[in-house]
């Protein structure tokens, strides 16, 4: 009987050339662990090219799964165990610094006997090097073992690997079989049978041949959870919001949301319109919204830039509109598949002139779902543009969350077609809130020409300077009206202390994990995560006053104070830090990383640790 080591958490990677099924293996492992009741966070490992050459360092395709005893809120730090189908994709991950020192490697060993001498040599050299570097390398004849079972390794090695992983992590093989039945449900029974055989083969092999075994305690879930990535969650949010039209143009990393939506939207009478360009996608959505069916356009950075003039039109004419920006690295084409939080200021201040719009950011996968529903509601209540920010990290990561319970209030009401009361004007701005009832085509007595020109209450083009100012005033007031309805953001940790960390968007899990770690060591640090960026909710100023120092953690650039030319007179702050400094006159510091990778909790912990150290110095001085 093997000694079973109990772990709090582990990070596992399954990598192969693209098309070898590592993705499916990793996803299945995540689902099985989630069903056991473990917390999970999975991230796709995607090569930049569509068809990278086989056995190439840059070609790793697969999945990274963080499995925890409790809830897991982010991708975590470095990898503990990796299954690799060849040594080259593995070397890519090693070079990227993704593996923990001493990481366990389960490597396909067929290359050792390969007939191509170069491959043979490359393999054995790599193994020597990895062993020399302190990695725990297990060479595993996965290919041969699949053949022994009478099955094709080309098609089934991934399920063999899944079986091994089930054994290693003491996951119930029954759940593995059920997962296979789910995954291949639509296929021939024979396909399911052979995959189960491979799974069981892998399980038995690992039981008999590996000298280690782990167990990550799980708490059996009491309620159903759903496991989706952020983009699927966004698309489900569009379905649930009752919106009927999504206009988009293909752009990475946003498009997969529209892929999924295209597949399912029509079943509930919706339309995904792939427009001829980003501007057309935005104006098409504006046309639909104007006609009474609030619409959404989903894009990413470059597309968001292209939509600016149209967004300004919706602001000026007070047409509700939901714009989702799945942020990627920028500027320009930047890093299409990588995560960054570089679009916050563009989201808030983009489009010329004063163009107030609502900006929200999803902090979790679950948030991606609910944000779209909330955004539609705000858009139609305030006749405003609502921008929902997510990023490539949320877009491709998976995390379970409680299965949403349908609420009929999510759904947009049908377009109002009742007659407009006599004497009412299309922009009868209410003095206190700036709100006006929206007139929708089809409503008798509501006829007017809507315009992007400055206009008066009757929607007549304004030539009078007073009228222009009146319109700007009321469009701005709507943000204040919304702000009054928002709750103060919760504080993670104590309500006072030495250091308050403020973040927004996908960094939530990593920041809170870092804060929890430091608090366990006794540090007086707390965090606050903002969902609304414009308007900023109440309570932030008061909360900051209860801490000695405040710092934001963001994935957008800020100048490094150590640089020779940088001092307080010219330092460029990260986006949120700049906003907080301007609004609250508080000396908010910031730390950022723009490497395209999700910021790791360990990096944040170190930053906060040193910030806390300077706080103590300042107090002792």
């Amino acid at each position: 009987m093997k000694n079973v080591e109990t772990l709090r958490e582990h990070i596992v990677e399954v990598i192969s050339d693209s098309g070898e099924g590592a993705q499916r293996c990793g996803q299945s492992l995540g689902s099985i662990a989630a069903r056991m009741g473990n917390g999970i966070w999975t991230v796709e490992i995607i090569p930049a090219e569509i068809r990278p050459p086989a056995r190439s360092v840059a070609g790793a395709s697969g999945n990274r799964i963080r499995i925890g005893a409790g809830p897991v809120t982010n991708g975590g730090d470095r990898t503990d165990l990796v299954v690799a189908f060849n040594e080259q994709v593995l070397l890519g991950r090693v070079r990227a610094g993704e593996l923990k020192p001493g990481c366990t490697i389960l490597l396909e060993s067929m290359w050792r006997e390969h007939k191509d001498l170069n491959i043979k040599l490359a393999y054995s050299e790599a193994v020597e090097k990895l062993k020399g570097a302190g990695y725990r390398v297990y060479e595993i004849p996965m290919d041969a073992e699949c053949r022994k079972l009478g099955l094709s390794p080309e098609r089934g090695k991934n399920m063999f690997a899944l079986g091994m992983l089930c054994s290693i992590y003491s996951l119930e093989p029954r759940l593995g079989r059920e997962q296979i039945a789910l995954t291949f449900g639509k296929k021939d029974k024979k396909v399911i049978e052979s995959n189960v055989k491979l799974l069981e083969g892998g399980y038995a092999w690992a039981e008999a041949n590996l000298d280690f075994k782990y167990r990550i305690p799980a708490q059996a879930p009491t309620e159903p959870n759903i496991v989706v990535n952020g983009n699927t969650a966004l698309a489900l949010g569009v379905l649930a919001s009752g919106m009927e039209i999504c206009a988009m143009y293909p752009i990475t990393p946003a498009t997969s949301a529209s892929h999924y939506l295209s597949d399912v939207f029509e079943k509930v009478g919706g339309v995904v319109h792939q427009a001829e360009d980003e501007i057309a996608a935005c104006t098409f959505a504006i046309g639909a919204s104007y006609a009474g069916k609030c619409a959404v356009t989903i894009t990413s950075g470059p597309g968001y830039s292209l939509k600016q003039e149209a967004i300004g039109l919706a602001v000026m004419a007070e047409i509700p509109l939901v714009v989702v920006n799945v942020q990627r690295g920028g500027p320009s084409t930047g890093q299409p598949t990588k995560a960054e939080q570089g679009d916050l200021l563009t989201a808030m201040f983009g489009s010329h002139g004063d163009a107030p719009k609502v900006v929200m950011a999803a902090g979790t996968i679950e948030d991606c779902f609910y944000s779209v529903i909330t955004a539609r509601k705000i858009a139609e209540t305030f006749n405003m543009v609502v921008v929902v920010l997510t990023d490539a990290n949320l877009a491709t990561s998976q995390q379970p969350f409680p299965r949403p319970k349908f609420d009929p209030a999510w759904i947009a009401p049908p377009a109002d077609q009742s007659a407009v009361p006599e004497g009412m004007q299309p922009y009868d701005w209410e003095a206190a809130t700036g709100l006006a009832r929206r007139f929708i085509p089809g409503q008798p007595s509501g006829m007017h020409a809507l315009t992007g020109l400055a206009h008066d209450r009757a929607s007549h083009v304004a030539y009078d300077p007073q009228i222009n100012e009146e319109g700007i005033h009321f469009r701005s007031l709507k943000l204040a009206a919304l702000q009054r309805t928002l709750k103060a953001p919760a504080i993670h940790g104590d309500a006072q202390g030495d250091l308050l960390v403020i973040g927004w968007g996908s960094t939530r899990g990593a920041i809170e994990e870092a804060v929890d770690g430091l608090r366990a060591e006794g540090a007086a640090v707390s965090s606050m995560h903002l969902k609304f960026l414009q308007p900023l909710p109440p309570g932030i100023g008061e909360a900051m006053k209860r801490f000695k120092k405040v710092i934001t953690i963001e994935a957008n650039w800020c100048d490094r104070p150590g640089d020779e030319l940088i001092d307080e007179s010219n330092r460029r702050y990260s986006a949120l830090a700049m906003l907080l400094r301007a609004r609250y006159l508080v000396d908010v510091d910031c730390w950022s990383e723009v490497k395209g990778q999700p910021i790791k909790p360990s990096s944040i912990r170190e930053v906060l640790r040193s910030k806390l150290a300077t706080t103590e110095e300042a107090v002792h001085d």
Binding site: S31, R35, M36, G37, A220, P221, T222, E223, P224, N225, I226, V227, T232, L236, L239, A240, G242, I245, V264, E266, K267, V268, G269, G270, V271, H273, A275, E276, D277, I279, A280, A281, T283, F284, A285, I286, G287, A288, S289, Y290, A291, G292, K293, A295, E309, L313, R403, F406, A415, P441, G442, Q443, M447, H448, A449, L450, G452, L453, H460, V461
Partner: protein
């Protein structure tokens, strides 16, 4: 009286006057061809008894695009070049509305050219009026893509060097084209007939209307206005039928069958005399909105059922112990 009878009576009573469609005093220059287009469209609305609240005029930016302000219907005066995708969004959301698009040669053929090409391909049920005066008006006399070679303007003081773009040949070259016509502002009777035929066509009707700009190109169309021989009127039993008066004045007319694409393309290349009439019409091309829209009633229960089915796919149910 039964509800049914009352309804019939109301239908019978529903007559509209020109004033029901007129809003404000147009700010176009006197002699501007836009005035003739406005008159023809208001007449069409009255004759077709279009409910003002069910009618939407969408425009971009430019002199032409002030059009919706002068209609007592719903209007959407949008941004430069984007009238078409806005109108497409309206049409997709609301099959019950009559949707017109007013655009100019700069708006459609220059800044919005991508949308023009794709609008033809989508073939949504929209009536598009291209107010083509072959010059930028609102920004004060710059050459447009349809300005003939040699046109002197503020950006081409020694005359344009490029040949003009021909909106008819471009449109007729695009897959799914279903209706192409050309009108001129100075023959109001024919302009009205063409706009009416465009309105009745189910699909994307593209009407190029040559219109005079008395401010920036006062002499530009004068030779054509003065010499009826320089207009070639197209008639056909399935298209325009000319009144006696028109046929007498415009004796340079001929039969043209609008169902023939090759003949339409050939006709479109002709610049002088100006062909006026319906060049092409194909009612069989499907409309994008008909291909895409669902006829299912989107009740909360219906949406919920679809959503729950999706949730089922992604749900991890609590394990039941064996």
């Amino acid at each position: 009286m039964t509800d049914h009878a009352e309804c019939l009576l109301r239908l019978h009573d529903e007559r509209f006057e020109l004033e029901d469609y007129q809003s404000g005093v147009p700010r176009w220059c006197s002699g501007c061809g836009d005035n003739a287009i406005l008159a023809a469209v208001q007449k069409l609305c009255r004759d077709e008894r279009l409910h003002p609240e069910k009618t939407v005029f969408v425009s971009g930016i430019g002199c032409s695009s002030r059009f919706p302000h002068y209609m007592k219907t719903y209007g959407f005066h949008g941004i430069h070049g984007r009238a078409l995708p806005i109108a497409e969004g309206v049409r997709m959301a609301r099959p019950d509305l009559h949707v017109f698009v007013n655009t100019g040669d700069g708006d459609c053929c220059s800044i919005g050219a991508a949308h023009w090409v794709h609008a033809v391909r989508y073939n949504m049920n929209l009536t598009m009026l291209l107010h083509d005066n072959e010059i930028y008006g609102l920004t004060k006399k710059q050459a447009s893509p349809t300005s003939p070679r040699g046109t002197r303007s503020n950006t081409t003081p020694r005359g344009t060097q490029l040949e003009a773009l021909n909106p008819l040949t471009v449109t007729l070259g695009i897959q799914n084209v279903s209706f192409v016509a050309q009108a001129v502002d100075w023959i109001p009777e024919v302009l009205y007939q063409i706009v009416r035929a465009a309105f009745h066509h189910k699909g994307f009707s593209f009407v190029r209307i040559l219109q005079r700009c008395p401010e920036w190109l006062p002499e530009h169309f004068e030779p054509y206005v003065k010499d009826p021989k320089r207009t070639l009127l197209l008639h056909h039993r399935d298209a325009l039928q000319l009144s006696e008066a028109v046929a007498r004045t415009y004796s340079n007319n001929r039969e043209h069958d609008p169902s023939k694409l090759a003949a339409a393309r050939e006709m479109a290349t002709q610049l002088d005399p100006i062909p006026v009439g319906i060049l092409y019409r194909n009612p069989a091309v499907p409309c994008y909105e008909d291909l895409r829209r669902s006829d299912k009633l989107r009740t909360a229960d219906f949406i919920r059922a679809g959503l729950e089915a999706e949730f089922d796919k992604f749900t991890i149910w609590p394990c039941t112990q064996n």
